[in-house]
């Protein structure tokens, strides 16, 4: 569906590529021109400076770490926090969907937590877990948890009753129904939850690193701001954007693999 939309907008693939390159060139040109202007230019480094600094950062450390190390620190925080969110959220969603008692018990709790944005947990995270890694994991986990749980819950809850009936007619028992029908029914939703939550978790890690840390992509931005080093701020932003893009591309590829049955066409 996505692909179709893109096509009808830009005509063909090569056409889309040409437009893409064109818009990038214009952006860089305008950016460069603005950076030449005196007063604004001071806080507006030329794009070529940013690109140079970005490349440099892989070899020469910003603070104590090189770019790859910073990315690694941020990614590790996200993976631990997000992983916790997955490990708790998917079973929680399944329990709420499949067991009446489970729903009756968890739903009220969950309804209270659900509307609270993840970042609102910052003060409690600090008070409970201090300024170290644990509070970051907690914050990221809380951000990711809600989306994953909700999507899993709805995916499993709205498994098609006709398919459930068909499986029962073919002799599937309760546990087999869960494994062979309910779980696969929920998988497309679970993936939607994972993708949305990953974006949220990646936001949360930046916020967590801005509060207090000595490394990470969020730290690069914040440190750059403290020293009025605009180029460093933008380098950090570019790194965040690139990592986010790569991660979501990987998740999409995994989804295409696992949900081939759900994708129309070739």
């Amino acid at each position: 569906m996505n692909r179709k939309k893109k096509r009808s907008f830009a005509g063909s693939r090569t056409e889309a590529l040409v437009y893409g390159i064109l818009s990038l060139v214009i952006l860089l040109a305008v950016w460069h021109l603005v950076s030449l202007g005196g007063r604004i230019g001071k806080f507006f480094p030329s794009p070529f400076l940013v690109i140079r600094d970005f490349a440099n950062a892989f070899v020469h450390a910003i603070g104590r770490n090189t770019m790859l190390e910073h990315i690694f620190f941020s990614l590790r925080r996200v993976l631990v926090g997000f992983g916790l969110g997955v490990v708790v959220g998917i079973p929680l969603g399944l329990v709420m969907a499949c067991s009446k008692a489970g729903r009756a018990f968890f739903m009220p709790l969950f309804s209270i937590v659900r509307p609270i944005p993840g970042l609102a947990w910052i003060p409690l995270a600090i008070l409970w877990f201090g300024l170290g890694e644990q509070s970051k994991y907690f914050l990221i986990c809380m951000t990711a948890l809600v989306g994953i749980t909700m999507q899993t819950f709805f995916g499993a809850l709205y498994a098609d009753p006709v398919l459930i009936g068909a499986a029962r007619m073919l002799g599937a028992g309760k546990f087999q129904l869960f494994v062979h029908i309910i779980l696969p029914s929920a998988i497309p939703n679970i993936f939607a939850g994972l993708q949305g939550s990953f974006a949220g978790a990646w936001c949360a890690v930046i916020a967590a690193e801005m509060i207090r840390s000595d490394e990470g992509t969020g730290w690069i931005i914040f440190n750059g701001m403290n020293y009025a080093n605009t180029a460093q701020v933008i380098v950090g932003m570019v790194a965040i954007g690139l990592v986010g893009l790569i991660a979501s591309t990987l998740l999409k590829a995994l989804e295409r693999r696992l949900c081939a049955w759900n994708i129309q066409g070739k």
């Binding site: 006709v162 007619m169 073919l170 759900n262």
Partner: protein, 256 residues
């Protein structure tokens, strides 16, 4: 009942009634419906749309309880789904995340039949419905007619004593529908089973049935039963065929 002969019927509905209740509204769908089906008989239930055919099928299958009355299968009361009854659905009820092969061998897999054995069995039925070569395809890639073939193979592969078919060709175009009727007739003559087949199409009923059970409008009951004693495979324009067609048309018009 005059047709039940000496042998006990394999399926028997006794005074089955069903009323749906929704917040004060109640809808009586089935009213005191009695029906019996003999072993290896091909019975077609012919009734107008929305008269409760699917509901009756679900009750026979044990997927839904009757409000009153009882259904017996092989002499025992039906209370829950029984894998001895195979269901073919009106809309495709294939598992979209499974390939054709895994849809067809689903039943044996649930019974933990060894892989090799159940694959061979599934292949037999895939070949029988004419889907050789599509074993690995997902349902989303198949046409409506092919999906129904998979549904039929899946039901057969579970070795049911009775096949319940709920308007399996209702959503197909006329051309595909004829070829599916041929296929069903051919499969049935090779793999004898008891079949209860629902349709609202008179020709389809005469082409397939040993016996046609005409149903009334809601609340549904049995209006009349007609034995179809024509040689198979049947000819849509033979005199016997057209005669029965005329009889049925008359019966339906009289009450209008």
């Amino acid at each position: 009942m005059e047709h039940s002969g000496k042998v006990a019927p394999i399926i028997e509905c006794r005074n089955v009634s069903k009323t749906f209740k929704n917040k004060g509204n109640s809808l009586e769908v089935l009213q005191n419906l009695s029906l019996s089906v003999r072993e290896n008989e091909f019975v077609v239930l012919l009734g107008p749309g929305q008269c409760g055919k699917t509901t009756l099928m679900n009750i026979i299958a044990g997927l839904e309880p009757a409000t009153s009355g009882e259904v017996f299968f092989q002499g025992e009361r039906v209370a829950k789904p029984n894998p001895k009854l195979g269901m073919v659905y009106q809309t495709t009820a294939l598992f979209p995340w499974l390939s054709v092969m895994k849809n067809v061998d689903f039943g044996p897999r649930m019974r933990h039949m060894p892989r090799k054995e159940r694959r061979e069995k599934a292949q037999h039925f895939i070949d029988l419905v004419g889907l050789t070569g599509f074993e690995k395809a997902y349902p989303i890639k198949l046409s409506g007619g092919m999906r129904q073939r998979v549904g039929i193979a899946r039901a057969y592969c579970n070795d049911p004593a009775v096949l319940l078919m709920d308007e399996p060709f209702g959503h197909l175009d006329a051309q595909t529908r004829y070829s599916m009727q041929d296929a069903i007739e051919r499969i049935w003559s090779r793999e004898k089973r008891t079949v209860v087949f629902i349709t609202n199409n008179i020709e389809e009923a005469i082409f397939l049935a040993d016996r046609i059970v005409l149903l009334t409008n809601c609340p549904t009951n049995v209006k009349k039963e007609i034995l179809v004693d024509l040689p198979r495979p049947r000819d849509y324009v033979s005199r016997g065929f057209l005669k029965i067609r005329e009889d049925i048309s008359k019966i339906f018009e009289i009450t209008k």
